[in-house]
């Protein structure tokens, strides 16, 4: 395999790996109301970069699934659409978070076992 192919394969695998975590990342930031760009910034501060063409559709989908609610704030000089977790969204987020923690600890011990076997 050529170097270029390895890089694109790796990229697509990484994208795939991250795709599912984006929902969780976005939900985690929506305990208090956020508008689109503030959400991008707070995610980036934690090192998570998200394509804007992914974020806005994702927010819409979450709203359709009734996990978040949105409202337009027109008091400032620029109207902004704020998103916040709904009651149902809060519940789902907690469960999703627990699921994530379980997965990471399982995967952690799995990968650790792999390392130990390698060093033998």
């Amino acid at each position: 395999m050529k170097v270029g192919e390895v890089v694109t394969l790796l990229n697509s695998l990484v994208t795939e790996l991250r795709r599912g975590t984006l929902t969780l990342a976005v939900l985690s930031q929506l305990r208090s109301p956020q508008y689109g760009y503030s959400l991008v910034q707070s995610l980036e501060k934690s090192g998570i970069s998200i394509e804007q063409s992914t974020l806005y559709p994702l927010l819409r989908r979450l709203e359709k699934q009734e996990l978040v609610t949105s409202s337009w704030d027109t008091t400032e000089n620029r109207p902004r659409k704020y998103y916040v977790l709904s009651e149902y969204g809060r519940e789902i987020f907690e469960q999703l978070k627990a699921e994530w923690e379980k997965t990471t600890s399982e995967l952690g011990s799995l990968l650790k076992g792999e390392e130990e076997r390698e060093s033998d």
Binding site: Y35, Y37, Q52, S53, T54, K64, R78, R80, K81
Partner: protein, 317 residues
């Protein structure tokens, strides 16, 4: 600022009317947030670059499937095409051959007839191919976009289902031959009915001399006849999808036959159906002619009854 509005326009024109305004507002506010104060054109460009291609942005917003036929139906789609296409092409071929033999007046040389036939057959087969492909694809594309659950969902599958999947007895199976003859019959009936003027009658010297039917009376039944033909085709498709006789299929079969036979009987009962020329040609007494018609009607009723009975019998096996 013009660049921004063009960008938003490029995104929203790809979206359904109902969300356009809201999405445009949100994009405009986001772009505003991302820009510094008194932005230069370069600033605007870099922000738009960060947002990425408007096509991709619009695709994200769409909740309409971006494929014609998804994995849920693709298997059925291919299966149906594989069975229907050869049958449709064969039926077309047979109809063309028959029509050309009937039309043959003996004035052309064999070579000319052959090439004529070849040309007709190729264009006819091509036409059938495209039509079949189009209609089947259309049906599945519509199915994909409705939430109809035609197939049992795969998500609730359990190994227990394998136990239920004892292969149906051979006798219950619907043979390719049966499907073929069903569709061939439908095609033949359709051809005869819509071309009765040229085909049904006593042909002398290559022209139809004594027509059997009053064409306008015959054709006045076209909505019912077309419906009967449609149910015949739908029934055949249903047979293909199920693959063997079930109680439901037998009921559908019965409904189709009762309807189609009722249409035929209704036509036969119309006093003006038979052309006067044909009555004269036969020169039978009125009672005898009526008895003949009744016999034809009875033939239809009996063969329908046999087929209905066969359906239920096979379903019970």
């Amino acid at each position: 600022m013009n660049l921004i509005e063009t960008y938003i326009g490029e995104v929203t024109r790809r979206l359904p009317e109902s969300n356009r305004e809201d999405i445009a507002l949100e994009l405009r506010s986001t772009i505003g947030d991302m820009l510094p104060e008194n932005p230069s054109e370069e600033d605007v460009k870099s922000v738009l670059n960060e947002l990425g291609s408007p096509v991709q942005m619009a695709n994200g917003f769409r909740d309409w499937p971006m494929h014609l036929i998804g994995p849920q139906y693709f298997e059925h789609y291919v299966k149906l095409l594989k069975i229907v296409m050869p049958i449709a092409l064969t039926v077309t071929f047979i109809l063309f051959m028959t029509a050309n033999v009937i039309d043959y007046t003996g004035t052309e040389t064999i070579g000319a007839v052959f090439f004529h036939l070849l040309g007709d057959a190729i264009s006819g087969l091509w036409n059938t191919f495209i039509q079949t492909l189009f209609w089947i694809t259309l049906v599945f594309a519509v199915l994909e976009r409705t939430n109809l659950k035609v197939t049992e969902s795969c998500s609730t599958w359990s190994a227990d289902e394998l136990l239920k999947m004892t292969p149906p007895p051979k006798k219950k199976k619907i043979s390719k031959f049966e499907l073929f003859s069903d569709l061939l019959f439908a095609a033949v009936w359709a051809t005869l009915y819509y071309n009765a003027e040229h085909l049904l009658g006593i042909i002398r010297n290559g022209t139809l001399d004594v027509p059997f039917f009053n064409n306008d009376v015959l054709l006045s039944y076209w909505p019912l006849v077309s419906l009967a033909l449609l149910t015949a085709v739908l029934l055949a498709l249903y047979k293909i999808l199920v693959g063997y006789w079930t109680q439901r299929l037998a009921i559908a079969n019965a409904v189709h036959h009762v309807f189609a036979t009722a249409v035929v009987v209704m036509m036969l009962l119309n006093e003006r159906l038979i052309h006067d020329d044909f009555t004269k040609f036969l020169s039978l007494s009125e009672t005898l002619q009526n008895a003949l018609l009744a016999a034809v009607g009875l033939f239809f009723v009996i063969s329908a009854a046999i087929d209905i009975g066969k359906g239920f019998w096979k379903a019970k096996l």
